[in-house]
């Protein structure tokens, strides 16, 4: 992520519909970002090389190559955050894009607020890299000390439960696919054991959530994975 003169970050918008590019351009410019446009996959890869944008918004239904391919090629040389825009009938593609390294997704059609929120989360450096202590909703998670407490009272978690909690909380606001979580916590041999994951998520919610029936911390992304609720934003980027 290169710091740009004037501190404005550059967003690459990849969509073959000029109308979508049009309003996204206005909205992002007004929100303090510079924008670069691309109408297809090849153009997108060329723009990435030329402009080194800070984030890419990628429509999955491109005319020349599918979004997955763009992400695969991008990930060979960069870990620039990617948010995919997906339609309802692109569920499988969306999950594959996330597994391949896309950071998040926004289903079409969307309100601009939703996209901007995801954008801010994805542009923020990952919390785990610097903070060993996560405080949210009265919950204190000590990643180094493997300790979780609510209002000063220590909660008892098994080691696997704690690993799962750490994987989620370190990526607050970002969607974590089933495969990603299973890989992080149980290893690559278990990436398909989704029922297993469900059981552990259930146990975590029982222990952490104020109302496990209506979780406020571990949110479900149906068919995709789980998302640790983003902490309240302290200020605009």
């Amino acid at each position: 992520m290169s710091a740009k003169p004037g501190g404005r970050q550059t967003i690459l918008i990849v969509d073959d519909e000029p109308q979508i590019q049009r309003f996204l351009g206005h909205a992002l410019n007004a929100s303090g970002y510079d924008t670069v446009l691309a109408a297809n996959g090849h153009e997108a890869l060329a723009r990435i090389a030329a402009h080194e944008p800070d984030l890419m918004i990628l429509d999955l239904g491109l005319p020349d190559m599918n979004g997955k391919e763009v992400i695969e090629r991008l990930r060979l040389r960069s870990d620039m955050p990617v948010i995919v825009l997906s339609a309802h009938d692109q569920e499988m593609e969306k999950i594959m894009a996330l597994d391949l390294g896309a950071d998040d997704f926004v289903p079409k059609p969307f309100g601009i607020g939703e996209l901007l929120a995801r954008l801010r989360v994805s542009l923020r450096p990952r919390r785990a890299a610097r903070a060993d202590l996560i405080r949210q909703d009265g919950l204190v998670i000590d990643l180094d000390g493997h300790q979780v407490s609510r209002d000063g009272e220590t909660l008892r978690l098994t080691p696997k439960e704690f690993d799962l909690l750490a994987a989620l909380a370190a990526n607050a606001g970002r969607v974590m696919t089933h495969r990603k979580l299973l890989d992080l916590v149980w290893g690559p041999a278990h990436v398909d054991d989704v029922p297993y994951l469900r059981v552990f998520i259930g146990q975590l919610r029982q222990k952490l959530e104020l109302d496990p029936a209506r979780p406020g911390l571990i949110l479900t992304e149906p068919g995709v994975g789980y998302r640790w609720a983003a902490p309240p934003e302290t200020g605009a980027p």
């Binding site: 519909e17 109308q19 979508i20 049009r22 309003f23 996204l24 206005h26 909205a27 410019n29 007004a30 929100s31 239904g61 339609a87 309802h88 009938d89 079409k108 059609p109 969307f110 309100g111 601009i112 607020g113 996209l115 901007l116």
Partner: protein, 536 residues
């Protein structure tokens, strides 16, 4: 299908049955003629010829009327020979003992002649019967193969059963748990209560219900369940009269009936299978169509919706930070996309109408006016597009003006969307076809879409077609025409709507406003010279 009457089968029952009165009269006549000939010319005729003449009479009677009459004729001839030939003449007395031997030998010869020629006669009859049976059966299988409905199959079977069994024949089918008459022969024959009961038993139990024996009360007809009614239902029952057991041709007639029943069953099963296959094919086609339509929906509906929602939320949430020109642009985008959605919904409604087998209100339409109206509408919708129109005076055709205008408009819209450059709309007559063409300078039509256009009916729409082309094709089809596509002479594509020109079409030059006829014929069925109303 055309009705073929079964070949006539001879009602032949001479063997072992009482010979007919006609046979006796015939045989007697032959003998009288021979006796008269012999009596009038006995001075010329040698005596041996007299004997031979009587023997010939027996032969003719036996060959013509069968075994029993042959035997009776032999005795008649014996009397004749005795009367005419044996001394004393013209008496039945026998003077010389040797003549008794002569008469005995004659009787023997005449009896054997009668026997052999009678048998020969019967063998000929039997062979004819078998041939007739084969003819009947081949005709039945031909007719059954041509039959396309359960009723037609039943009619064929019933007609032949009637001819074979010499009695009424019936076919009944179950409708909602009740037997209903499907066909009967002789036509108009209605089953009585006992027959209905027997038919019901045969239908419900799925087994043959035989006619009661002669002299007993009960059904006169034998009922057989045959075939299947399709989709797991029971098939119809066929009933035919008993074949008189004393008939010489009883055997082969029964066999023929058995074969007919079997073939009818097979025909009904074939029909049920083909109906199921057809229904399955239709389901699959409509399933594919729905999938293609959904794929098209996802693209054409979502983009405008996403743009509108995105622009509106941008204006609401970031309004203060947006420049006035950006605000104006977003509002323009919302307006454009809302209009696009409106057009799209209109098209969806039309496609639904086309697919549900809509009623087309055909009237005399000036195709040139319709094409001009579409060009005008397209120019209003896309003021920046370069649309040239070269539409000469064209003959009137049978069409629905609004639909024709929409079909041309959709082709222009596709050209505007996918082929930047000049678009030309032309009209001409080619043979008995009226051709409206939309030429563009784009990259040409994708092969998949060109192939899809060449197919009959509403085959599944290829991806990326949008709705315009399927609607135009549907309209062209329902107006009795089609859409063809070819590469343009100078690049791009030429899409043509081809519609039939009715042979008695009124030429626009000669057609004059006809006075309203007093008979009150609907005005829309007559040629009209005023331009069809234009849709805005």
């Amino acid at each position: 299908m055309t009705r073929i009457d079964p070949p006539h089968l001879r009602d032949d029952r001479r063997w072992m049955t009482a010979p007919s009165l006609g046979g006796f009269v015939g045989a007697a006549l032959i003998l009288v003629v021979v006796a008269a000939v012999v009596g009038s010319s006995r001075h010329i005729l040698p005596e041996t010829v007299v004997v031979l003449l009587f023997l010939t009479a027996v032969l003719i009677a036996a060959a013509g009327f069968g075994f029993w009459i042959g035997i009776v004729s032999a005795f008649g001839a014996l009397v004749g020979v005795n009367f005419m030939y044996v001394e004393p003449h013209f008496t039945l007395r026998i003077a010389q003992p040797g003549d008794i031997i002569t008469l005995a030998v004659f009787l023997l010869a005449a009896a054997i002649t009668g026997l052999i020629s009678g048998r020969l006669r019967e063998q000929v009859d039997a062979a004819q019967g078998r041939a007739a049976a084969l003819e009947v059966l081949s005709q039945v299988s031909h007719e059954l193969a041509m039959a396309t409905t359960q009723t037609e199959i039943a009619q064929v079977a019933v007609r032949h059963l009637h001819a074979l069994a010499h009695g009424p024949a019936l076919a009944l089918a179950g409708v909602e748990g009740q037997l209903r008459l499907l066909a009967s022969e002789p036509q108009g024959y209605l089953p009585d209560a006992s027959e209905l009961e027997a038919a019901d038993v045969a239908w419900r139990r799925g087994r043959i219900e035989f006619a009661s024996a002669q002299g007993w009360s009960g059904s006169r007809l034998t009922f057989y369940p045959v075939g299947t009614g399709g989709s797991g239902k029971r098939g119809p029952v066929l009933g035919h009269a008993r074949i008189a057991p004393d008939r010489r041709d009883h055997g082969w007639r029964e066999q023929a009936i058995e074969v007919i029943l079997r073939q009818t069953g097979q025909a009904l099963e074939r029909l049920a299978l083909s109906e199921e296959a057809e229904a399955e094919r239709r389901r699959a086609t409509s399933e594919e169509m729905r999938a293609a339509l959904l794929a098209s929906l996802s693209h054409d509906l979502r983009t405008p919706l996403a743009t509108i929602l995105g622009s509106v939320t941008t204006l609401r949430e970031l309004g203060a930070t947006l420049s006035p020109s950006a605000q104006g642009d977003l509002l323009a985008a919302i307006e454009e996309e809302a209009e696009r959605l409106g057009r799209y919904v209109e098209k969806l409604l039309q496609l639904t109408r086309l697919q549900s087998g809509m009623q087309v209100h055909m009237a005399w339409v000036d195709a040139g006016d319709a094409a001009t109206a579409s060009v005008n509408r397209a120019r209003r919708s896309w003021p920046n597009a370069r649309i040239e129109a070269q539409i000469p005076s064209l003959p009137m055709i049978r069409a629905e003006a609004g639909l024709l205008e929409q079909a041309v408009f959709n082709l222009i819209e596709n050209a505007v969307k996918y082929a930047p450059g000049v678009i030309r709309v032309t009209g001409e007559v080619q043979g008995n076809q009226l051709v409206l063409s939309v030429l563009d300078r784009g990259r040409g039509l994708p092969d998949a879409i060109a192939e899809w256009l060449a197919q009959d009916g509403m085959a599944p729409v290829p991806q990326g077609t949008g709705l315009g082309l399927p609607i135009s094709k549907g309209i062209a089809t329902s107006l009795g025409g089609r859409i063809t596509a070819q590469p343009g002479a100078t690049g791009g594509a030429v899409l043509q709507i081809r519609l039939p020109v009715p042979p008695e079409h009124p030429l626009p030059q000669t057609a004059s406003p006809a006075p309203e006829p007093a008979s009150g014929q609907p005005a829309k069925d007559r040629p009209r010279t005023d331009p069809p109303e234009q849709r805005a």
